[in-house]
Amino acid sequence: MKQIISVLTENQAGALNKITGLFARRAFNIESLAVGVTEDKSISRITMIVDSGNNAVEQIEKQLNKLVPVIKVRRFDDSEVIGKELAMIKVAANSKNRGEIKNLADIMDARITDISAATMTVEISESPDKIDLFEEMMRPYGIQEVARTGIVALQKGSSSIG
């Protein structure tokens, strides 16, 4: 089952290493990982997606809590959070199909952020499955490069983990 793990941690050198090391040691794969500072500059938020059994993820949550720099850990499933990811897709484009690509981008609320004689770069901020979909739509034109940030997520409504 895919789960989102949100971790608040001290914003200090080595903290991320300690956290990801835990996953590696237990032979756990992290599907996506995003790190950034929070409203409090001394705290970073790490958002991860892991796909594993419930018991295994519960054990990971407990092990994360044991790390001294880790301040808070919460697990969510998709329905509890607003989750978005940013992707940039560089796709082959010429004067004939630029309009088509622009149309598809508009449909998905994506933006053209760069253009050259032979390419267009499209930026999309969406849930991971919608980004997958958009990527599929771009594939026939010839995708040259994709960069994705990994999901960041906040709880729905007024609740927060801090």
Partner: protein, 542 residues
Amino acid sequence: MITGAKAMVKGLKEQGVDIMFGYPGATICPFYDELAKDGTIRHILVRQEQNAGHMASGYARKSGRVGVCVVTSGPGATNLITGIATAYMDSIPIVAITGQVATDMLGRDVFQEVDITGACAPFVKHSYLVKDARELPRIMREAFHIASTGRPGPVLIDVPSDVQNQQFEYKDPGEVNIRGYKPSITGNMKQIKKVAAEIQVAKKPLICAGGGVFSSGAQDLIKKLSDKGKIPVVTTMMGLGAIPTSDPMNMGMIGQFGHKTANYALNHTDLLVLIGARVGDRAVTAPDRVEEQSRTIHIDIDPAEIGKNMTPTVPLVGDVRHILEKLLEFDIETDSGEWSQELQQLASEERNKVSAKREQTIGPRNFMHALSAQLDDDAYVVADVGQNQIWAGKYIEVKKGRFLTSGGLGTMGYSLPAGAGVKFADRDRQTVVVCGDGSFQMTMNELSTIAENDLNLKVVLFNNRKLGMVNEIQKKAYSEGPFAVSMPDTPDFCKLADAFGIRCRRLSDENQMEDAIREMLSHDGPFLLECVVDPDESTMLQ
């Protein structure tokens, strides 16, 4: 203005540290210089860095205080790794300080540089790489706090040499307050009530005491719980001595190499109360089966231990002592007469078995019985790893003393330096190291430290001229049988001891056993007693 090195010494003194175990080298020299200037902290020079970790561990286990060790960067630090990992697996509070190359050299693979905080990450409770000396006063305080509170464990402080030399204005860092580190000590009252309710209705309850009982200093409460609830007790290897061996309710040690009665109890209980035990594979070989057959209560200070190897019926997080104090306020008397009678019968049969006396070799069980008969009530026995560990664990009688060993990591060579550590904590405490010829040869260089400090440490060496435990495993499970385990050319250990100025006796006739043990224990100074053991002697003797 003070230097980083001075702040480190100040930090140690503030914690009441009066002894540390170490091995100097270039990058830790500023600290050693400050240590020399100060002159109030005794430094024990070990003969190899790993042993500084083990000595600090033995010291911590005897004194109940944080053990401190210090080594230099690079190979000094990597040698110490096994000591740190050993302490981690057994939850022993130590603070390890390593020198490091100067900050502007970090990451350039200069002489004696190694990323020691990176290397130790999987088996330290916490680690620091200090980049600015102004952080040292706070870090020193935090390190001791983290090592000694909650589930104890090793903390590593890696200090680059320029940080040790850095001058700064000392400011008191105030009380320790780490927002990500708040161990839960007191148990949840609702859960404690549930535990009491479970105990009341159990017909075949069983307490399983682990090493956490000692970390929490709750030995007396295990006895009280057992008495009040009429609950038989088994222990893990780390829990040996949680109640005295001879207590009628003590059914022995569980596990692969444990007592028959204890394992029988584990396989037939209807309510298993795990106390400060982590359900390690060597202790509980089939946790799924235990889960199916009985209701289970798991009391541990580390939430991550609960549900890791077994899912309990009632989880209870907190310090064992706190929890048992509250639990004992409830009416928890069980109707377990038949069950405990059955177990007591089995246990006494198992305990009273004796082997015939031999004249050419020493039977480990007979020896352990003879040794137990002469030991002080509060003696410390430190066993190594291998067959000797099983023989000592199974057949030594622990009264008011302790049985120490590397239960988690199973580090060969632990016993001699750890035994020395016990002696440094309490010079007058009778302390006996039990090891084999394999494990002894891993750390026998510490005989030098023991002789230098005139530690009255007794060493029992079971010599079968091979790695007995591996030999046993290979014979049992591998087609080619024993391979690479024989050590026909082991030295004459008595001559070796003599070279260190340590008295020695070689024993091969059980008729001489009592006399030899008496000579060892009454001798004023270190003593090596080599026992000739049959090379085919097994841990499976019944």
